[in-house]
Every structure is written in C-alpha cells, then in structure tokens.
Amino acid sequence: MKIERLTTDVLIIGGGTAGCYSALTLADEAPDASVIIAEKANIVRSGCLAAGVNALNAYITEGHTPSFYADYAMKDADGIARYDLLISMSKHLNEVTARLEKLGLVILKDENGKYVSRGARNIKINGENIKPILADAVSSLPSVKVINHLNISDLILDQDGSVIGALGNEIDEEKLYIIFSKAVIIATGGAAGIYKPNHPGFSRHKMWYCPFNTGAGYAMGIRAGAEMTTFEMRFIALRCKDTIAPVGTLAQGVHAKQVNSFGEIYEDKYGLTTSERLYGTVEENEEGRGPCYLKTVGISHEQAEDLEKAYLNMAPSQTLRWIARGKSADEENVEIEGTEPYIVGGHTASGFFIDDGRRTTVKRLYAAGDVAGGCPQKYVTGALAEGELAAKSVVQDFENEFSVNNTTSSLHGGRFDIREFDADFKDFDHTDDLKEIASEILSADDFSFKDKDNISTEIENYLQMIWSHVSSKDNSENGDRSNNISESSSLENESQAEILEAKMQDIMDRYAGGISTHYAFTEDSLDEADSKINDLMVEAEGVKCSDFQDLTHFLEVRERLLVSRVLIQHLKARKETRWHSFDENRSYPDKDSSFGKVFINTRLRDGNIEVIKRPIDGDYKVFRVVT
C-alpha cells in the first residue's frame, strides 16, 4: 500500500460549484499560492450538478436589489437565517453569473441583450454542461492541482485546535493521502441518504439530492469541534413522483398549479413558502384527498415538448418516463410527492456556523456552498458567491497575519511538495510500527507544527482506524458484533456497509420523522432514535470492508451516523414546530415566539454534543483571525 504526503498552501475539499469557484478566485487573488482540490469523484461530472441544472434560481433581476433577495430568503425560513450572510451572498450573485457566462454557460437573452428572467429571482439557461465548464476553467490554472477519486474523511488538527490538513483514501487502489495545508476550504456539499429514500430497493439512489454527497464536510467539522447551526431545518423536496425530478420548471415554466384528486387547487390553502408547499401535499394525502398533481393538462402540445427538452438538461429520467408511458405532460397531470429529508445548506440554513467571511469557528477552516449554514436559498450562484467569499478571506487572513517575505509560512510559498511512502497493512497491527510510519511522514522539516507528537498520534489513529476496517483479522473486542453483521449480510449478498446504511435509514425514518411518519416525530421517538443511532455507531466499529471502495462506502455511512446524531439533538432542542414537515415536532405542534429569536447550534466537546443558543441578530462579522 502507498501513502502519499502532499504539502500545499490551500486545500479545497470538494470540487463542486463552490470548490471550483474558490480555486478560480484564489488563482486571481493569490496567483502564486498552491491549491489542491481533493474531489471524491471527478470534477468534470461530480456532485449535485452532474446531470446539469435547469435555471439559475438566485439572481438579482432588473429593478431588484440584494436586500430584496435576502428579505425573501429570511421570510421563507420564517426568520431563522443570517441576514448578514444573505446580503453578502446576494451582492455577488450577478458578478459570478457574468463570469459563468464568460466561461461558456448559455444564458437566454432578449433582443436587447438582457437576461430573460423566469421569475423575480431566476434566469433561464442551458445548464447541462455547467460542471464541464467549471472543470475546464479550473484545470487550466497552473497553481491548481486537482486530485480526482480522493475521498477525504478526516481533518488534521494542531494542538491549538486549528486545521492543518486532511486525511483521505483513494477509491480504486490501496492508497492513503496525508495533505498538509495552511488553510482548508470545505466545500463537500450536504448530506443525502440519512433517511430511508422513496424507493429503498433497486432504485434507492433515485433521490433528489446527490446520493454521493454524504455529509463528509459536516462530519469532519463536527469531529474538529466546529459549531454547526440549524440542522433541524431539514430540507424535503416536493418532486415528480418516482423520477424525483424537480417541479419548479412545471410550476414556474408553464404555471402548473398543485391540485388534489378532486381537481381542487390546494396550494393557496397552506401558503407558498417552500415548506408550506410540501406540507400542503402531505396534508391533502393524509386527509384522503390524494394523490396530488401538478396540473399540466391544458398546456399546449408544443409546451409539453419543450418541457421534455428542458428536463433532458437536468433530470432526464422524467423525459424518459413521459416517453415510456406514451403520454406527454399535456395529456396527463404529473403526480407529485415529497422526498426523504436531507441536510443541505444551499436550500435551508443547515451547516457550519460561519462569519460573514465564511470562516468557521475552527481556525484555518472555511466553508462554502451546501456545507455552510445560515444562508438558505443560495442555489448554484450562491454557492459560487460563497466560494469566492471564502477564498478572499483566506487571502486576506494570510496576507494580514503572515510576512509575505517568509516563504515557509506565507500563503505565497507556492509549491506542491509530494512524497510517497510504502507501508504494509501488516505493519499496522503493531503500535510501534505505526509510530514509525507516522514519524517518517512527519520527518520533513518544511512545515512548522506546534505539536508534532499530537499530530503523529492523529495520523496513527487514522491509519489504525482504516486498518481495523480493511484487515481480515477481527478485533477481539468487536468480533462478536461484526459476526452479527456478516451473518445477515450473507442473506442478501450485500456488504456490511450497505446493511449498516439500511439500518441507519430505517431508524431515522421511523423515529426521527421520515417519509413513513409523514415527517413527524415526538420527543419520545427522538430519544428512541438517539439511543438506536448510538448503538449503531458502536456496531459500526466492527464493520469489515472488502476493498477501498467498500471502505469509502463505509466511511460515508460513518459520517452520516454522526450527522444523524447531531441532527437528533437539533430536532430535540427546538421545542416548537416552526416549519411544517421540515421540523414537524408533534410534542410541540405550534410556533413558539421565544424560539423565533435564536439559532440552535451544536458542537462536540469530549464526546458530548453541546447545544448552544445564539441570538438571530448577533454580531458574527469576524469570528477570529488566523495567528
């Protein structure tokens, strides 16, 4: 097995929209700084936008201002969002859009050369190739090195709690990465696959949010002691039944209304915020007036054909479904349903608690895109804007705090250092051998750590953790549990990681408000979820993996278990029902104005999850500067 050690100025974890835009900004603002993008898949087609995107839904259209957008997002979140973050994002939406167009994105214009809007905040595009466009732009930058198929799962912390790098594994071969950097921008996306999905069988990954976004960034941050905010504002998408394709194109594009099985328009009855549109559909079904539809019968056949084209650019399965059924949208209404809940800071306010410059509460760690909290409705352009803001903060912090002349500690140190080490897994069995490997990795003298011993222990622990899951030898203390899983796994021919995932999704579905309980939970059911998830986390320690891809799948379940644990504490702490369906607390079914003034934040301290209430209107301009 190989271990590769890399040193760089800035490490960006995740090469999606936010991560790629951070890299572009760093190349502009600090062209000598070396930047690594670590991407779990391939940046050409990774994450949420692998299939493309149908519109840009966050744009300041003519006659509007950034505060118009921020006001809308605050209202949609019923007051639980950071106005400062929404304003700083909104101010950058149009500038990042202009750059995207310059890079090659097709945006619809009228005869006067102005963008054609789809609504008050949206513009029309052809976004099928948005990822290849960003990937091309990033790949042409000499200061940026992209490492594809690298799954980062853990951060490395210095003695003072600041982040100094990250640890990860290659997916297709037995190789580990240890990356040291002066700053880390985390842009991994949010978390899907926590709850049992709409189709738990063969089509289990036909979900709205990218199933490969498994909360890695949240979990790394939580383990590093970062403060997280508003996980309890889960996102549940209202989607076309079965294909889980977006409904916005039908609602806004051809003005299709939500109707119940009696043909009654019900959307006005429940309100028009994102959660109310979903809640209305849940209620109509619960009260025996389902199924519910978007009324497309009555549109022209030409419109139906245009819809088929539009869906090919973002959710091709919906077009395939229309054609397979032999009935287009003008002939048959489109049935709608809610998805399973996700944690995703691009739509709701869940994620890292950050300052206005997108700094997290952990030193040298910045967050952008779906992983960053407090700034809902950011969509694609908002993620780009946050990528820019985070990168600018990195440059600003390092220029202020480090002497530019000192090349070993300034951001402009500028070069990649790559070293390879060989290690045999059998060495990992012995603590002394592990110590030796870790000390060899740390032997280079070009990076100053405050506490080498501490870092060495972190690396040893990581290597030990990987070994415990890939070695065929049973750990004596976990042997019984892993045998339990092996027995059940032989029935379905599924890996232990897959069984663990299904168990987690089942617990969250039943006890923490999944599809099967119409998203509702009680205090007691949350206690049950908490206890069962904790048991599962112990069981997870004994899971065995067949290869590094199976290991990656396991690590993805491990991070979602931690996200689940934190989510349950958030759901418990907000003792009210502020957003129907998103946070449907049957023990506290009404809104409570005292909870309208606070963020529910959490952080992990000594193995326990602390809940911290922060005022909505607090001063969060700059958390700290790097020293």
Binding site: R45, I125, N129, L307, L312
Partner: protein, 102 residues
C-alpha cells in the same frame, strides 16, 4: 434507475472516469456497472460514451418499462434517442447553445 452496457463497448474507460459515484469499472476490455443500485441517473456516462454502448433505463420499482435511452453528440447538438422492444421510438434534438424555454 440504472444503466447497462451493450456489445458496442470497447472498454475505453471514458464512462468510468466521469461517473460521480465511481460505480463503473473496466474488466477484460469491457465496462460494467459494479454497483447498479447506486446509479443516480445523471447520464454523465451516456453523454460521454462515443460508441453508444450505454443504455439508460428506469427500474421496475419506479414504474420502468422496456423503454431505454441513449444520446449521440453531434457538434453542439445532443440527439437523445428513445428505444423500446420495437426499436427506435423517438428522437429529441437538443441544441447545447440554446437555452431552456422554461
């Protein structure tokens, strides 16, 4: 929802490279999907395949039938082709340089 490979496959590996879930592998000069249940349906692989070897279909558990689709790239056009057991059912041409109407 998933994909399958037909005999056109030459094992070039372009699909394996772009799959956002790293689900496609190459063995004996042929591509195969190692984790069919983990396909998201993004069709990145279908778009990148130069020899029309990948067929995208809907799983029976979400109302899939025998209809499947492929896509051919011609200059800045994408020709999406829909087939069933009787052969080619329909073609939809999408111009990559023109925007969605909706």
């Amino acid at each position: 929802m998933s994909i399958r490979f037909n005999d056109n496959c030459i094992g070039c590996g372009a699909c394996a490279k772009v799959c956002p879930g790293s689900l496609i592998k190459i063995k004996d000069n042929r591509a195969y999907i190692k984790y069919p249940k983990d396909c998201w349906g993004c069709v990145s692989c279908v778009k990148v395949c130069k020899v029309n070897a990948i067929e995208f279909f809907l799983g029976e558990d979400m109302g899939g039938s025998d209809t499947y689709m492929q896509v051919e790239t011609k200059d800045h056009y994408l020709d999406w082709k829909f087939y069933d057991s009787n052969g080619l059912k329909r073609t939809i041409e999408v111009d990559r340089t023109s925007s969605n109407k909706y």
